[in-house]
């Protein structure tokens, strides 16, 4: 016996939205970073076509690689409604670890593995404080970042600057034809990460945890383990970024990764992902890392200097965050 008589009224609610809204949804469906990149490329094409030449673009590609990995790290935690402000400290830590005499005496693979483990350990510490003690991610990662910076500066006060192992230098500075190896490493990692998140159950769990933590808790999702895993992975990814950058610089230095945190947050937000948004793949933030690096180089060419860079950085994040907030409000 078919009791359903009001099926017609029920289906009205699911009609597609009017076409005026479709344009808006198209705009918000594509990550802002892609628009920004198109704008920047267009700008160069018109005013400074020399910047679009391959060699310059390859330099930018290499420069963007460490930031790109940091953006991957930040993306993982921001998708879970957390944040990692210790990325700069992890960069410094990997530089320090990879240039110590200890590492110089070990087989070259350890020069890569040890810093990655160190980064993962920092992520684990962050994760434990955040999940077990329910401390605020902002404060915890700010604190661990400060501890890392202080430790590294202290431990390197009396030591002569060391040199980064050759293997890492080759990765950081080397090229495969015209293409920088660092950039390829970045793309490979981003691609794998993107596929993994899309294809693995963990990716679905992360999506849910970021979309509605309350529902995730009530429906039995292992929300604390997801957060912990994200932070550990973020730590390892940040260490990878630090290695790429150290490889390029070639020596131990205390001036490394100072603006990684800001730029990584900018990259994620420009890439279309905000706190509490379950959607957002890898493409947007990856393009954002490249777009930001291109932007900074353009500013340099125009003589903007450190101050111009900072101003643009800050404005970009604020604009992206405000637009994201407005888009989310409209959607709900």
């Amino acid at each position: 016996m078919n009791i359903i008589s009001s099926s017609s009224t029920a289906s009205v609610a699911a009609q597609p939205r009017p076409s005026s809204r479709t344009l808006g949804r198209l705009l918000t469906a594509i990550a802002p970073s892609i628009w920004v990149l198109i704008l920047l490329v267009g700008y160069c094409a018109v005013l400074k076509p020399m910047l679009l030449q391959m060699p310059f673009q390859m330099v930018i590609f290499r420069q963007a690689a460490p930031l790109g990995l940091a953006v991957c790290a930040q993306l993982l935690v921001m998708r879970c409604r957390s944040i990692d402000l210790s990325l700069g400290g992890i960069f410094l830590l990997t530089n320090f670890v990879s240039t110590t005499a200890l590492v110089a005496g070990l087989p070259p693979q350890w020069a890569i593995v040890l810093p990655l483990l160190a980064g993962a350990a920092v992520g684990a510490v962050n994760g434990v404080f955040i999940t077990l003690f329910r401390a605020s991610a902002v404060i915890v990662t700010l604190a661990t970042g400060a501890i890392l910076v202080g430790m590294v500066l202290y431990l390197s006060t009396d030591n002569a600057p060391g040199s980064v192992p050759q293997l890492i230098k080759d990765i950081g500075q080397g090229r495969l034809g015209p293409v920088p190896i660092a950039g390829l490493v970045w793309l490979a990692v981003a691609l794998i990460l993107g596929i993994v998140l899309r294809v693995m159950v963990f990716g679905r769990l992360m999506q849910a945890v970021g979309s509605n933590p309350q529902a995730a808790t009530l429906s039995g999702l292992p929300i604390r383990r997801v957060l912990l895993a994200s932070h550990i992975a973020a730590g390892a990814l940040a260490a990878g970024g630090g290695l790429l950058l150290s490889g390029y610089v070639g020596v131990s230095t205390s001036n490394l990764g100072g603006d990684v945190v800001m730029n990584s947050i900018a990259g994620v937000i420009l890439g279309g992902v905000t706190f509490g948004s379950g959607r957002g793949g890898m493409l947007g933030p990856t393009v954002a890392a490249f777009a930001l690096t291109l932007l900074f180089n353009i500013l340099n060419v125009f003589g903007a200097g450190e101050s111009g860079k900072l101003i643009v950085q800050g404005l970009v994040i604020a604009a992206a965050a405000i637009l994201a907030g407005m888009a989310q409000k409209g959607r709900r």
């Binding site: 359903i4 289906s11 159950v201 309350q214 429906s219 039995g220 959607r279």
Partner: protein, 505 residues
Amino acid sequence: MQTLIAARNISKRYDGVPSLTHVGIEGKAGSIHAVTGENGAGKSTLMKIIAGVVKPSEGELFLNGKAVTFRSPLDALNAGISTVFQEFSLVPNLTVAETMFLGRELRRGPQLDRAAMNAAAEKALAQVGLAIDPRRSVGSLTVAEQQSVEIAKGLTVDAQIFIFDEPTAALNTQEVARLEILLKALRDRGKCIFYISHRMREIFELCDTATVLKDGKLVGSYPTRELNADRLLSLMVGRDLAQLYPPKADSLGETVLEVAQLQVDKQAAPLAFNLRRGEIVALAGLEGQGQREIVRTLAGIQPQGKAQIAIRDLQGRMSRFSAGGGSARSLQHGMAFMPEDRKAEGLYLDLPIHANLTLGIHQRRRPWALARRCSQVVAGLVKDLSIRTSSTSLAVISLSGGNQQKVMLGRWLAVGAKVLLIEEPTRGVDVGAKTEIYNALRAFCAQGGAVLFTSRELPEVIGVADRVLVIKDHTVVAERSAGAITEEDILQAAVGNHAGGGHRS
């Protein structure tokens, strides 16, 4: 008696679903006016409109004969309407005097005049019969004390109209007596008091008028001396049961769920009950009597809730566990939970429909496993539950309430849950979708599952369930097969009314 406030032709719709339709009410000076009806009849909504918390979709309010509009509760308060809701509007980290005067603080120059506020607060608290220091923090007060503070707040404004929403729910006998003395004193001073309640004794002892609402419509306003408890109850219920409900189970299987030692918190008495295979059991009763806590304890998410559970699978194997180990453990054993507030607690609104449906499947597997597309499962669910959408890639938020509810249900059907624990299965769901959901629940039971649900809608309770447990004060006060119980019986048991003649107790 002079009419202090009148509401005419009030209608309110939430997302197109009507909550009040053309309701009118008049409050006269020197009167205690009961506003009653079963859960969900619209009493709170009507009072919230008068209190300025909610704006009506249609209709007007008249204060002392003049039309008024309230933009906020502060507006209403300044106009002389004071409200004491069930969820208090106090700020827990402030002192009593501070929260009473928040928004209209007394000042001496640029400074707060704490002395004056404390004095005024003390005076008002004394009138309410509460002798506490106004400098105490609100968070340290008991529920009853907080309620008295809310009432005292209205006295500091010299309100003419008071609204009380189920004021005696959290009070002991002494406190109730004190409240009644206060209310009568207010009435004798010419105030108008609206009193939302189900408690027959209070309605007939305190109130001179009773307005009855049913399904968002006005049934009528009557002087209480012309009514008695039975007549009032019958006005609140009794409607034509539309052919919404699928046929009940004709034969039930073995016991599939045994609940023992269920305690919602340390003070509650332990409960025990069973569910049989193919059975749908409803927990009915007034708001806040413990139904929600019972379901959430079984789901493992009630803090401090404990229960000993034994659950039997299709092969007849029993597994025992203690609930209270979190939702993951309960889910592992086959108890799936659907919360009342699907938007905030149940669904992932910005994720696509297929993601919401398949999350239950995914979460059972190892995190590093490949997440299969499960498109067949998704298609099957969409068809079986008649989820109306142009594409399963759309975000769940684009669906209507009924379809959203189906998605939440579908997630647990896909996972092979043994027992469904549902709070308000069709809240905010249109009529057509309701039937589809009931059919789906019956199909689930026919395949060997069992359902335990709570509902405010008595017709739904009687129409859908095989057995009804009426809950009052965290205990089961009545248990009957649904075929042998009427809405009035449920309500009688729920309010604890044994005064009506000729009724089974």
